[in-house]
Symmetry: C2
Subunit: 194 residues, 2 copies
């Protein structure tokens, strides 16, 4: 038996480079192919190692996905920006994050067809988005609803732009997308009622 996991502060292992290569290849494949078509064999090939190594380090395909889909949105503290700019800041941050890290695309593609992936997305929503949104909500009891509305608009743009690639959405400069979406998100965050 050999250790498959170490506390984050543990001594570096000789296999760390391989582990990282596997994770990177996995994120790429999950992001572009979804869960079922992202095969362990293809991921291993991308990482330049044998498929059995993936099993050794991550136990199972589901375990690999769990490790590859760990993600920090790094949401800004919305209480620290001018109240009327919260919407623009949030939209800009999300789109930027989506373009710089393929993990979000992996989460989205897997979340849509795989129950475990959907659960991951719900956790991301509850643990990261909802609290960040609650920080600028006028009414605590509506915070969940507001967060869901915000996410619906941002998620929809991400699907249109990065996944389905509707020409007008995919071709739109990011600044233009932010300009259109910001007032919407601002309203969801702070408007008294619909």
């Amino acid at each position: 038996m050999q250790p498959t996991e170490t506390a984050p502060g543990g001594r570096p292992r000789r296999s760390d480079a391989t582990r990282a290569a596997i994770l990177e290849a996995a994120r790429e494949r999950f992001a572009s192919d979804g869960y079922e078509r992202a095969t362990i064999r293809a991921i291993a090939r991308d990482a330049g190692i044998d498929p059995s190594m993936v099993m050794r380090y991550y136990g199972t395909k589901e375990g690999l996905f769990a490790a590859a889909s760990e993600f920090d949105l790094r949401l800004p503290d919305l209480a620290a920006v001018p109240r009327e700019e919260a919407g623009a800041v949030l939209v800009g941050h999300f789109l930027e994050r989506w373009e710089e890290d393929e993990t979000l695309n992996a989460l989205l593609r897997v979340g849509v067809t795989n129950p475990a992936g959907a659960e991951r997305m719900r956790a991301l929503f509850q643990e990261q988005v909802a609290p960040a949104v609650a920080a600028v909500c006028p009414d605590p009891e509506l915070a969940g609803t507001r967060a869901a509305l915000v996410v619906s608009q941002i998620l929809g743009m991400a699907v249109s732009r990065y996944v389905l690639r509707f020409p007008p959405a995919a071709g739109m400069p990011r600044a233009e997308a932010v300009a259109w979406l910001a007032p919407t998100v601002q309203r969801y965050l702070t408007a008294e009622s619909p």
Copy 2:
């Protein structure tokens, strides 16, 4: 050789019931499982026939999906409703359609992980949504952008509500969702600029 297709006006075939059962089972499976996990064997089992019949009538799994994903959004003529209600009408119609026919969910789930499915969604956008939106756009050259924005909001709500099932979005009464989204869509349809 035997005919696999007949002109829409053709005489009814003895196999029409079977063909319909296959299509219904296929839509159900594609909607709940996505393309890869919706197996021909499972669809045939649901339809109460042998898997080879599916191949006989639809040629290939891709052909089956093409047939099962034919869809008419039945979008209303937006020029016929009061200008300021276009947003509410459009949102309400989409959510209703999403709940009454699982084909839309099948399209969405497959579109996210399958290239052919994504192409289908783009065709739906271009052939049905874009023209309907153009009917109320003040500026023809911006119609495509406006349609994409509208779709991004509606698609995002559908993903949140029906696919990922974020609790606040999934639990929200449809009327409340419409009330929140309507002003957004209205603005995308008619506002001069962001």
